[in-house]
């Protein structure tokens, strides 16, 4: 091989390697799932309290979709029924726990409503802060997830969640909670609870997209979040929420 040929080949090799390396890097950086880029999204949910009729379809759909045990004390989402009497007394119950029980006549009701609850996907999540092994983490698109292969089952996150949104899954022995049906939303589908809600009381959307229903919901309603004083910065937004809701 003469010197000219060597130099020619060397230049070719270096530039080809450079291009190849760049392509590799590019391929690694890009998510594979249909060109989905989490950096372009930030998910949240709106709850239109006045639209919820307490049918419980959302709970059922969630349990089916996410392999949540059917018992009423393992919940990724639940619905609370508030009854406020004229004398100011407040009764709250979870509609699941009350299922099938006859409801007595309740006189002197001032107002009554249903409040769906789920993980608030906090922007400042206490559960992520306390997890000793980093099994609970926040994704770039704003969803708090649990890696069940990493979770050691210490339950510190369950203690740290102000909303009671977490439980220990009796089969996996790891912490479990609402994921906004992450496996669905990255494919452009809606979370199961939103999909089945007959009154559209749950509004799912992307806070980064001006066209999203959620952004419109937060624009046209007066919005409140749960326990704002704890500075967890929830991304589940409630419209027309009563002061009794905690």
């Amino acid at each position: 091989m003469n010197r000219r040929k060597f130099l020619k080949n060397a230049v070719l090799f270096v530039s080809a390697a450079g291009v190849f390396r760049h392509l590799l890097k590019d391929a690694a950086a890009k998510p594979t799932a249909g060109g989905y880029d989490p950096a372009n999204h930030l998910y949240g949910m709106g709850i239109d309290i006045d639209k919820c009729i307490g049918c419980g379809l959302c709970i059922e759909a969630c349990k089916k979709e996410n392999n949540v045990p059917k018992e009423p004390f393992f919940c990724r989402t639940w619905v609370e029924r508030y009854v406020i009497k004229r004398d100011g007394s407040v009764t709250v119950e979870s509609i699941e726990a009350q299922k099938g029980k006859p409801r007595a006549d309740e006189p002197d009701i001032l107002r009554s409503f249903f409040v769906p609850k789920l993980c608030n996907q906090c922007a400042n999540p206490p559960c992520v802060q306390v997890c000793p092994v980093g099994a609970t983490f926040a994704t770039e698109d704003g969803v708090v997830l649990v890696d069940s292969k990493r979770c050691i089952g210490c339950r510190y996150c369950i203690q740290a969640c102000p909303y009671g949104a977490r439980y220990l899954h009796p089969e996996t022995r790891t912490a479990d909670k609402c994921t906004f049906c992450y496996h669905r939303i990255v494919k452009g589908l809606l979370p199961a609870c939103v999909e089945v809600c007959p009154t559209q009381a749950r509004i799912f959307g992307d806070l980064k997209s001006m066209a999203s229903r959620l952004v419109r919901f937060t624009r046209v309603n007066k919005i409140h979040v749960l326990k704002p004083h704890l500075n967890t910065e929830p991304k589940v937004y409630y419209a027309d929420m009563d002061g009794e809701v905690r």
């Binding site: 009423p72 919940c75 000793p132 510190y156 369950i158 220990l168 704890l230 905690r246």
Partner: protein, 403 residues
């Protein structure tokens, strides 16, 4: 599916009063998590007592110095076990050491624990026993000779200079050890105190209250052990030592009581959103464990006893009896303190609208028997430690006896 768990939770659901979030039916931190801070508290307290001799030169307490160190070690060795048994995936526990999430208070466990074990306790015990271990290895035959040689890390220098260095090293380690003991137990308090979601836990005072109650329980435990072991050895209890330690115990209980009262008054005075449900908690489900066991039996009666001993002239026999009663009551009280924090903090809903119940398992892994076993285990470890490293016989005495 764990049918037994489902059955238990279904029963518990019937016991709920008011409204709780559905996931709150299960009490997540069981009796094992009560045992954990109780045991680490004993470690920290026993070490602080040992430090009195080294740093503050309290000569009267010398007879309990080695006992206190070994007690701290025995309990420290068992301290991680309740946590381990409690995990949903015990086989992944090492992740806390290998890939800690540094923002988590709990992830600091590995660092705090290993620092305290390796850099403080083992080191101090080694320097304290080094000379004796060398001499014992010379006096012993067979495997014990090699155990002592191994334990002394094959050092053989017992010249005056070397022994003086040991003494100096012990002083330095104790000075580092006191803040380390504070960190060890203050950190356990921080795990609870930093949970802003839980108003029963969330308080800056919690680590300090934990620390003071740790000192109280640790000192009381060493007194208990000293009073039990000394007659078993056929020796007389050194009353000067006993009087001195109990007076330290007395001051520690006063400080502990004051801090807890301050915490209580502060909560009552601030009267935040959670006050109604917390009032229900302390007057209902925690009534016996808080007011009767923790405060009356665990604090007020022992304090009254110690005031009586200080102000009236009792003879030695009666003093011993009263001291012994006090330290047992204090242990009971401090265990109740841990119970009230850990279990109490989970009995009310974070919706502040209802209470749940804790029904302790009996035979399960997180049950009563495991807890009792874990509380007995440190005493077995201590017995072995005392066999290998006698707390009262120095090597010279032993040699003298042999010759």
């Amino acid at each position: 599916m764990n049918q037994e768990l489902v059955q238990r939770l279904s029963e518990l659901q019937q016991e709920v009063t008011g409204f709780i979030y559905p996931n709150e039916v299960e009490i997540h931190w069981s009796i094992l998590i009560v045992v954990y801070p109780y045991i680490t508290g004993l470690v920290a307290g026993a070490f602080i007592l040992a430090s009195l001799v080294q740093v503050f030169n309290v000569k009267e307490v010398q007879p309990t110095y080695r006992l206190a160190l070994l007690t701290a070690l025995a309990f420290l060795l068992i301290a991680p076990l309740p946590l381990q048994f409690h995990l949903g995936h015990p086989e992944r526990a090492f992740e806390i050491f290998l890939t800690p999430q540094l923002g988590s208070a709990m992830a600091m466990f590995g660092f705090v624990y290993l620092w305290y074990l390796m850099a403080v306790l083992l080191l101090e015990i080694w320097f304290e026993y080094r000379k004796d271990m060398i001499l014992w290895s010379k006096g012993e035959k067979g495997p014990m000779k090699w155990i002592y040689r191994g334990l002394s890390l094959f050092s053989s220098d017992i010249s005056e200079g070397a022994v003086a260095f040991d003494k100096k090293a012990i002083k330095v380690i104790t000075v580092i050890g006191i803040p380390s003991a504070f960190i060890l137990h203050g950190y356990v308090g921080f795990i609870f105190g930093s949970v802003k979601a839980n108003p029963w836990w969330s308080s800056v005072l919690i680590p300090i209250v934990f620390l003071m109650s740790a000192i109280v329980s640790g000192i009381a435990l060493v007194i208990f052990l000293y009073m039990v072991i000394t007659p078993l050895r056929g020796e007389r209890i050194d009353m000067r030592c006993l009087d001195k330690i109990t007076s330290y115990l007395f001051y520690a209980v006063i400080v502990d009581f004051t801090l807890e009262a301050l915490d209580f008054i502060h909560r009552l005075y601030e009267s935040e959103e959670s006050i109604k449900i917390l009032s229900k908690l302390v007057t209902g489900k925690l009534f016996v464990s808080l007011w009767v066991i923790q405060i009356l039996l665990g604090m007020i009666i022992p304090l009254a006893i110690m005031v009586a001993v200080k102000s009236l002239k009792f003879d030695e026999e009666l003093r011993r009896l009263l001291y012994f009663t006090s330290v047992i009551l204090i242990q009971l009280g401090i265990f109740a303190t841990r119970w009230n924090v850990v279990i109490g903090g989970q009995l009310f809903s974070k919706s502040f609208r209802g209470l749940t119940t804790y029904k302790m398992e009996v035979a399960g892994i997180e049950g009563l028997f495991t807890a009792i076993g874990l509380l007995i285990l440190p005493f077995i470890v201590l017995t072995i430690l005392l066999k290998i490293l006698p707390a009262w016989e120095t090597a010279e005495v032993k040699e003298g006896a042999a010759s």
